[in-house]
């Protein structure tokens, strides 16, 4: 009996060891398998094909732009490029309004009286022997002032968000026009400026900016500063107010946009 129980214990122990051994082997296989998978995954990652890059053919993209040189705005085409091409500010209504202001500045000889000018009254006999009185003074061309002021302000303007920056640009035109004279009219009539801004979505914002500039707001002082700086750089022209008065010209046909590459 005792022998039987001893044998049973021995056999039981052997089975137990065998069972543990089998468990160990299974565990080992599993670990090996996992290692293999990890290795495979790592290898797969390394061997992964490079991502396919599709280049945008930006040189083939065309934008709907105005053509200043084509429409007689040769002198202002560099300004158009600086503002519209360089920043891709082709969003409406800014794009068209900016171009309208460029056209009115280009088509009319607006002048800003030199603050340092003397006003000399001339009494002169005309060809009919009548004494005509006129005034002479020296002036700056508003077109030249705008050509100088916008590049001068561009860095400052870009610090603002796009919407404000665009309103600031339009307000430079308004500030310069408000200081301008046009032939016999003593000043550019406010209603001409109002007509230009009529229907413009951000007209009120532009008016507020102009008011701030006139109040010498510190943050916007660079606009008036650009005009003062232009006075020191640009040449003056003589002006005599005996010339025939002219109406402010505005083009009847709207400008045409063309698809162009930048």
């Amino acid at each position: 009996m005792r022998f039987f129980s001893n044998t049973l214990m021995i056999v039981g122990t052997i089975f137990l060891f065998y069972y543990l051994y089998k468990l160990y082997q299974l565990y080992k296989e599993e670990v090996e398998q996992e290692k293999e998978w990890v290795q495979e995954a790592v290898n797969e990652k390394i061997d992964e094909e490079p991502e396919q890059l599709y280049e945008l053919n930006t040189d083939k993209i065309k934008y709907s732009l105005y053509n200043p040189s084509f429409e007689g705005l040769h002198e202002l085409s560099s300004l158009y490029k600086l503002v519209v091409h360089n920043n891709l500010w082709i969003n409406q209504p800014f794009h068209t309004k900016f171009y309208e202001f460029l056209m009115i500045i280009n088509d009319n000889n607006f002048m800003i009286i030199d603050p340092l000018s003397k006003v000399i009254t001339i009494n002169m006999r005309d060809k009919y022997n009548k004494v005509q009185t006129s005034k002479s003074y020296q002036v700056y061309s508003t077109k030249e002032i705008i050509k100088y002021a916008i590049p001068y302000c561009m860095d400052n303007i870009k610090r603002f968000n796009k919407k404000d920056a665009q309103n600031l640009l339009i307000s430079i035109f308004v500030v310069a026009l408000k200081q301008s004279v046009h032939y016999l009219s003593h000043e550019v009539p406010q209603n001409s400026i109002d007509k230009l801004l009529k229907g413009y979505k951000h007209a009120q914002a532009v008016r507020s900016i102009v008011e701030l500039v006139e109040e010498a707001d510190e943050q916007l002082y660079f606009i008036q500063e650009s005009i003062y700086d232009a006075f020191t750089v640009l040449e003056t022209f003589p002006y005599n107010d005996s010339e025939v008065s002219k109406v402010i010209e505005k083009r009847r046909q709207p400008p045409q946009k063309l698809l162009q590459k930048i």
């Binding site: 030199d114 000018s117 003397k118 000399i120 002169m124 006999r125 002479s136």
Partner: protein, 157 residues
């Protein structure tokens, strides 16, 4: 007013003309704009026009008008209400001439000032031929005069 500046312009025949502002009275800023041509070969100078500049105003632009103004100065209180350029006024029983002009400022001229100006006006012709101004006076247009003044920085304060 830079009265010592000499600058040039040309008449219709392309003859070079010079302008010299001659000071008649510095206190009242009264100048004679002396316009003349110069013939270097003949060593002669010809007056082509005389303009009177008073303050910021070209009062007369033809030779006859300028002479007329100078004669009114010369007449002083012998002149009368028919005077074109100068009114006779009296202040504390002293007679003065008052400039008739559209300017904001009143310009009064005393007797001695009037005499001095008339004297300088006559001296200004010494060494010049006056016949040319009578025969072919050079007439400015307002635009040309404005340009001439500007070219020589005389429109600057």
């Amino acid at each position: 007013m830079a009265h010592d500046q000499i600058f040039t312009l040309r008449d219709d025949a392309g003859v070079e003309l010079k302008i010299i502002p001659v000071a008649l009275n510095l206190d009242k800023e009264i100048y004679l704009l002396h316009i003349f041509e110069e013939d270097h070969s003949a060593k002669k100078k010809f007056i082509r026009n005389e303009l009177a500049l008073i303050g910021n105003q070209i009062l007369t632009s033809t030779f006859s008008d300028t002479v007329h103004l100078m004669e009114e100065l010369n007449l002083f209180d012998i002149g009368n209400h028919q005077n074109k350029y100068l009114d006779i006024t009296e202040y504390q029983s002293t007679k003065n001439l008052k400039l008739k002009h559209n300017g904001d400022e009143n310009i009064f001229i005393s007797k001695s000032e009037a005499k001095a100006m008339y004297k300088i006006f006559n001296l200004a012709f010494l060494g010049y031929s006056v016949a040319a101004v009578l025969e072919k006076e050079f007439r400015f247009t307002p635009q040309l005069l404005a340009k001439t003044l500007h070219d020589n920085q005389l429109l600057l304060r």
